[in-house]
């Protein structure tokens, strides 16, 4: 291989490491070496940046903890709803969206908690705790004074609350957790994040999870702002790499 081809080969390797959720520079020596090279070698850095931009990937963070990427609109690396859970109903999509936001908010409720050092471990979370957390917030939202709610979307709000209450009522059906109950959905969400290297299982028997350093980094340097932008209705940076 020529010099440039060798650099491109190594650039591909670095991006491949970044795309594997469970790989960390602490466990793969080559990954750590490539990260160091990315920091120190400007030619290597421009080739890595060029390749990943071409693939529709943007950098969330690049430190000794790893190279963290996010997929822009149109990227083949973008998660589709079916990658998350197959054959979801419209209602399930709504609830799973809330659950993902709730996991982030449960782990890092305030800016100062999110702003702690990258390797500080957040609170433990279980599917049951998370479902209860969502229920409390949903109830608080439901009891807001009518003056605060917009009469135009009251029907929409009702549908929302009904979806949530249906999921909540499934909790105890037959004394067994249903995958369509709120707790069951929370478990799926946490398991999915665990597969993405963003959660770790602390206690399998009691289903205790905890956000990883990668999860904090993703939220702190990318997701928190993007979610806020999304809430405000402005286009997110996902539109462009």
């Amino acid at each position: 291989m020529s010099g440039l081809a060798t650099i491109a080969h190594d650039a591909g390797k670095l991006i491949a490491f970044a795309l594997r959720p469970r790989q960390t520079p602490w466990t793969a020596r080559e990954y750590a070496d490539l990260l160091r090279r990315y920091e120190e070698d400007s030619q290597f850095r421009s080739i890595v940046d060029g390749v990943r931009e071409g693939m529709g990937l943007r950098i969330v963070d690049a430190t000794r903890n790893g190279l963290f990427l996010a997929a822009a609109e149109g990227s083949p690396f973008r998660l589709a709803a079916d990658d998350y859970k197959q054959n979801m109903t419209a209602q399930e999509r709504v609830l799973h969206g809330v659950i993902q936001i709730a996991i982030a908010a449960f782990s890092f409720p305030k800016a100062d908690v999110l702003d702690q050092e990258d390797n500080v471990a957040p609170a433990h979370v279980t599917p049951v705790k998370l479902a209860e957390y969502i229920r409390q917030f949903a109830e608080a939202e439901a009891t807001r004074s009518p003056a605060e709610t917009n009469s135009d979307d009251s029907a929409e709000r009702r549908a929302w609350r009904e979806a949530l209450s249906r999921a909540l009522t499934m909790e105890t059906s037959g004394g067994k957790e249903s995958a369509r109950s709120l707790t069951g959905m929370c478990r799926h969400a946490l398991d999915f994040l665990e597969g993405q290297g963003l959660m770790r299982v602390v206690d399998e028997e009691n289903a205790v999870y905890q956000g990883t350093t990668a999860y904090r980094i993703r939220l702190k340097y990318h997701a928190a702002h993007e979610l806020l932008t999304l809430m405000r209705g402005a286009p997110t940076s996902g539109a462009n790499p």
Binding site: T24, P25, W26, T27, E39, I59, A62, A70, A71, P76, F77, R78, L79, A80, A81, Y84, R93, V94, H96, G97, V98, Q100, I101, A102, I103, A104, A105, F108, P109, A111, D112, V113, L114, D115, Q116, E117, N119, V120, A121, A123, F137, E141, D153, R157, W160, F192, Q196, G197, L198, T212, L219, K220, A223, A224, H225, L227, L228, L230, M231, G238
Partner: protein
């Protein structure tokens, strides 16, 4: 009298001057001298600081206070003691990038728990350890900083403020796999009873006291002081490390130059002085150790260990301070990603989750895919090729051969079918045999030869042997004939073992 009070209070707590001898009698407006106003301000600051000091132990006191409300009986355990032992374990293992593991904490608490509750199960032990750690981490508050409201005096008026603090935090270790606990500055100060003191002043005071005690041979006191000093050295190192980390993340060159460089200079000056003084003290103590013996030798060794721990912490901090500026410049030179500062980060609960829950269903549904990609990472396609697929399909079947352990099997004997139980006739035959044959002293081997000669059935022969063994050492009330060992081995008629002599007497 008031002047005396001031001196005692100041001396006992090493606090700054807090009161004046007659400030209550003088109205500030009638006095052109600015010092009373200054003293009033100092009083306000001191009271404010001490109020905060009263708040810091609250999480520990709370877990003790509320233990009776839990599902299980915890009355035999004092959570104040357990929390402080946990803090001691964590602080002792703290260094740069390290701390105590859950196992370390559990090992430290286990003997105390078992002393209070000897029949404690492992599960229950884990439960208590979890309660201790959860209290210190504020797990109930999802590991947010503890917050308490308190009142302060400001120019004679009362104002309410929020005081935020933390006691313990959990960190991922550098290998990415482990987790360790680290104590906060407030926790270290709480543990060393130095809340409200200036860390640098406390370190200087420790050094002076340690030297004084060591020079006068008060080795027990010196060990305690050295232990306290090494914990305070960790508190100081943690304090500086945190300041540098916060400054490093907020990559404003101007703030670094104006605010952080002076801190580095001051800390370097302080730490160099500490290293020099500790080296001198250690040199003197090492010479004394060469001449010491017995108990003094052991005490001097312990004292030197404590001083060495403190030296290690100070040297690590010294190294960090020397390279801090260089690291910061490198980061700028490489034009690293500009990370958002804390002020710009949203509150995920208030700014995102609540509005999300309040939004119409259609919008929430449409946002799902975007939110998923923002929060949950990227999709990693499983890359394969047609060649790879063919080779997989055409590959020979996998033959699973169970793994065999590389061990030598032990020599064993197969159990035979158990012999049938004895019949009534067998007992009668054997009893008849004893009555007819045992007329004097006979060896068991001789009796067996006779039995064979008289064609005694095998079951009856076995009973003869078993009854002989039963009578050997039988209680007097159950003894029917006398049996004693011969001291010789026999093998007759399919029986083998130590021979016995049987007689009716």
């Amino acid at each position: 009298m008031k002047r005396d009070r001031k001196r005692i209070e100041s001396g006992a707590n090493l606090f700054a001057t807090i009161t004046s001898e007659d400030s209550s009698r003088r109205a500030p407006s009638n006095n052109p001298d600015p010092s009373p106003r200054l003293e009033v301000r100092e009083l306000e600051e001191a009271v404010s600081r001490r109020t905060r000091n009263l708040l810091v132990p609250e999480p520990i006191l709370d877990v003790e206070r509320t233990k009776s409300q839990r599902d299980t009986d915890l009355s035999r355990h004092d959570f104040r003691l357990l929390c402080l032992v946990a803090l001691d374990t964590v602080i002792d293992r703290m260094g740069f990038g390290s701390g105590a593991t859950r196992r370390d904490v559990q090992n430290a608490l286990a003997p105390i728990l078992r002393a209070s509750e000897p029949d404690m199960t492992t599960d229950r032990e884990r439960l208590v350890v979890d309660l201790v750690l959860d209290a210190l981490l504020n797990e109930r508050g999802r590991r947010q900083r503890f917050m308490a409201r308190y009142a302060v005096l400001e120019g004679g008026a009362v104002r309410w403020l929020d005081f935020e603090y933390e006691l313990l935090e959990e960190r991922q270790t550098d290998d990415g796999e482990g987790r360790v606990f680290r104590a906060s500055k407030e926790a270290i100060n709480l543990y060393t009873s130095m809340l409200g003191l200036d860390l640098e002043d406390a370190a200087v005071a420790d050094a002076a006291v340690l030297r004084y005690q060591a020079e006068r041979g008060r080795l027990d006191d010196a060990i305690q002081t050295a232990h306290q000093a090494q914990i305070r050295a960790k508190a100081y190192a943690e304090h500086i490390r945190l300041r540098l980390e916060i400054a490093r993340r907020d990559v404003e060159q101007a703030a670094w130059v104006a605010q952080v460089l002076p801190v580095i200079d001051e800390a370097l000056h302080h730490i160099s002085d500490r290293i020099e003084k500790e080296r001198e003290l250690r040199g003197g103590l090492e010479q004394r150790r060469y001449q010491a013996s017995g108990e003094d030798l052991a005490k001097l060794t312990r004292l030197l260990n404590e001083i060495e721990k403190s030296e290690r912490t100070n040297l690590d901090l010294h190294r960090l301070l020397l390279t801090a500026n260089l690291q910061f410049r490198d980061e700028h030179a490489r034009q690293r990603l500009r990370r958002p500062s804390a002020a710009l980060l949203p509150n995920l609960e208030a700014d995102v989750l609540l509005p999300w829950l309040a939004s119409p269903t259609v919008e929430a549904r449409e946002r799902f895919a975007s939110a998923l990609n923002i929060v949950a990472g990227v999709y990693t396609p499983c890359v394969t090729s047609l060649d790879a697929l063919w080779s997989k399909l055409l590959a020979p079947p996998i033959i699973v051969s169970p793994a065999e352990a590389d061990t030598v099997p032990p020599e064993t004997t197969e159990m035979k079918t158990p012999l049938p139980p004895f019949a009534r006739e067998d007992f009668e035959t054997s009893a008849q045999f004893f009555r007819n044959t045992l007329t004097g002293r006979f060896r068991l081997s001789e009796l067996l030869i006779t039995a064979e000669a008289r064609a005694l059935p095998p079951a009856a022969c076995r009973l003869v042997v078993l009854l002989s063994m039963q009578q050997f050492g039988a209680a007097v009330g159950r003894r029917q004939f006398h049996v004693e060992p011969v001291g010789e081995f026999f093998a007759t008629n399919g029986f083998a073992g130590d021979d016995l002599v049987l007689s009716r007497t």
